[in-house]
Symmetry: C2
Subunit: 358 residues, 2 copies
């Protein structure tokens, strides 16, 4: 088995953070918040991978405006390894640029791609699976995605239909197809069929492999990356290139089209913490089922999620099943189960030009 001496980590921390409004803002998106208790999600993501890959081979991509805050949060990462994207262009350009940067320093680089805003509690199991995926990607030119065994018919995730096992690692399987967020009926069939996995958005591949796949599957992006390669991946050239990149996900640009895509079913519990509704699972509840993140007083109140920013307080009296989030300049109240609709509030604020609350 090859060691991980050529392994790199790309942490994608580009989230804009509307789904956790009012706690999350453009200047402090989800990955900067301690939503699962303890340190912020980005800090935990970097710490989780740290035993596998040193800071010198860890790249973090974020919005340009957030780069200073990210560098402060991750002081051990060389400042040049934190890239501020001048404009958001989804994940494909970010993956391509990161792969180019890694390959420029090590032609044999293999890279794990980690979203900065997921919660994975069993860190040992995570590292075992991730290093297995990296070793697979180092040995053969597979694009490896990590697949999570579904625990219910979720309609908010992408699904992967698995095919036959790979000879090089019999736990990994060829990907038959990707299915974007399915209907509930379809998600139920996937669950019953047992050969579908959730796409965790965590990948491993050789830098050369993914760059070749981009060139083959999305020639426009491939050409722009080749031009950057000729510019030796100079930071100024990258910044200049960003606005002209297509805005497209690596899943859609490459994975759904590439011939050699594999999935490694993982053994750790995974939560992408997509909305406020995902938060209670990561915090203890009081005896009435209230989950309090920050300071709260609950009086004859049940099964609420009460969130107060440091220095603030939420007082809930006689209410049930609500999400209440207090920040100094805004409060959100909504029933549990409807927090995915918060974007409507954010859109209203945007349409009235309420920049200070976005």
């Amino acid at each position: 088995m090859p060691s991980l001496e050529h392994a790199w980590i790309l942490v994608m921390a580009g989230g804009s953070g509307t789904r956790f409004w009012p706690l999350s803002r453009a200047s402090r998106p989800k990955q900067m918040l301690p939503l699962a208790g303890g340190p912020p999600l980005l800090r935990r993501t970097v710490d989780r991978a740290r035993p596998l890959v040193p800071p010198s081979r860890t790249l973090v991509f974020t919005a340009a405006g957030l780069a200073p805050a990210v560098r402060r949060m991750l002081p051990e990462i060389p400042p040049g390894n934190v890239l501020g994207e001048p404009v958001g262009r989804n994940t494909a350009p970010c993956v391509g640029v990161a792969a180019g940067l890694a390959r420029a320093r090590d032609p044999r680089a293999v890279m794990a791609v980690l979203p900065a805003d997921h919660v994975i509690s069993d860190e040992r199991a995570f590292r075992a699976d991730l290093s297995r995926a990296l070793r697979l990607a180092a040995r053969e030119p597979w694009l490896v995605t990590l697949g999570v065994r579904p625990t219910g018919p979720a309609t908010g995730y992408g699904y992967i239909e698995t095919g036959p096992p790979l000879p090089v690692d019999r736990r990994a399987r060829r990907v038959r197809r990707f299915i974007e967020k399915p209907s509930l009926a379809r998600a139920r069939r996937f669950l019953a069929a047992r050969r579908f996995l959730w796409n965790a958005g965590i990948f491993a591949w050789g830098a050369e492999t993914i760059l070749g796949a981009i060139r083959a599957c999305h020639p426009t992006l491939g050409r722009r990356l080749d031009a950057l390669d000729r510019a030796r991946w100079a930071p100024a050239a990258i910044a200049r290139a960003y606005p002209a990149f297509p805005s497209i996900s690596i899943d859609y640009a490459v994975l759904e089209k590439a011939p050699q895509v594999a999935v490694l079913p993982v053994r750790f519990e995974w939560d992408d913490v997509g909305t406020w509704d995902a938060i209670p699972a990561h915090h203890p509840a009081d005896r009435c089922g209230n989950v309090c993140v920050g300071d709260a007083v609950a009086e004859d109140a049940r099964e609420n999620l009460l969130v107060a920013e440091k220095g603030g307080l939420v007082a809930a009296l006689g209410v049930k099943g609500l999400v209440v989030v207090h920040t100094p300049d805004a409060t959100l109240v909504c029933p549990r189960g409807r927090t995915q609709e918060i974007r409507k509030i954010v859109e209203t604020l945007r349409s009235r030009g309420d920049a200070c609350r976005l």
Copy 2:
């Protein structure tokens, strides 16, 4: 009819403000808040009586800590007319001291007593009724209370059973008895009987009359007031006397016992704005029945009261019939109809020593 040249106003602004928590605090109780839109309730109370009585004959009693803020809010009132009580002692000592101060300047003084935190929209009708009560009190030694025609079987008010009309003013009636907050069944009987009025807590009496009644009905308080009279109502003597005053309401100390108590049924609409539930009546609602005081965004939300302090915002999504109050350091959420229970929250904060939020 005697004129109002001997008329005085006592505005009682001693409320501690727990019922409108978190907007109301010890340092900014209900009467200092613009709860009915426009100026704060205290400012409106003083303005409402202004055409009847000049500032030089208007006294305002409040907590000592609030006196500077009250003087700033009422710059036309001579600073010496704003009395800061070193400790709260309910209404009887306040009424007695104010009567003594007025009588010391005018032996024929008659005084109207106005709570600082009520809402009365029809100011002309209010002044017509109040001047009628003052004239009655100037002619004969009645203790006159203003009575409001009940509009429902409220259990939160005191009731007055009316007796025969007074010869001196046939609209006014002798008070047969006071009934404190009744049960719902009893309140319904009162409503059906049609001879019961709500006690508005607004009074008119001669200064000499009320001082004599206090002496007769509550000799302990009477003696302490006599001592202050000998000290010529010097501010320092008043301040020293306060801690030793009994803490008792003028209703309980005097009105329920005195022989010559009358009630004038009033013709204005009156609201003591006792809880958050009283607020929607004084503000326009949107087409979904939401009442917003301050900045709010409502999305698929109905019949909520959404209150945000200046600079703050309440966002309500998918909720119905709630009261949501945002301040920079605390948010309250509770169903409409249960806001009288807010004191439980305040007690919890008090028991944990959360002084900055009280």
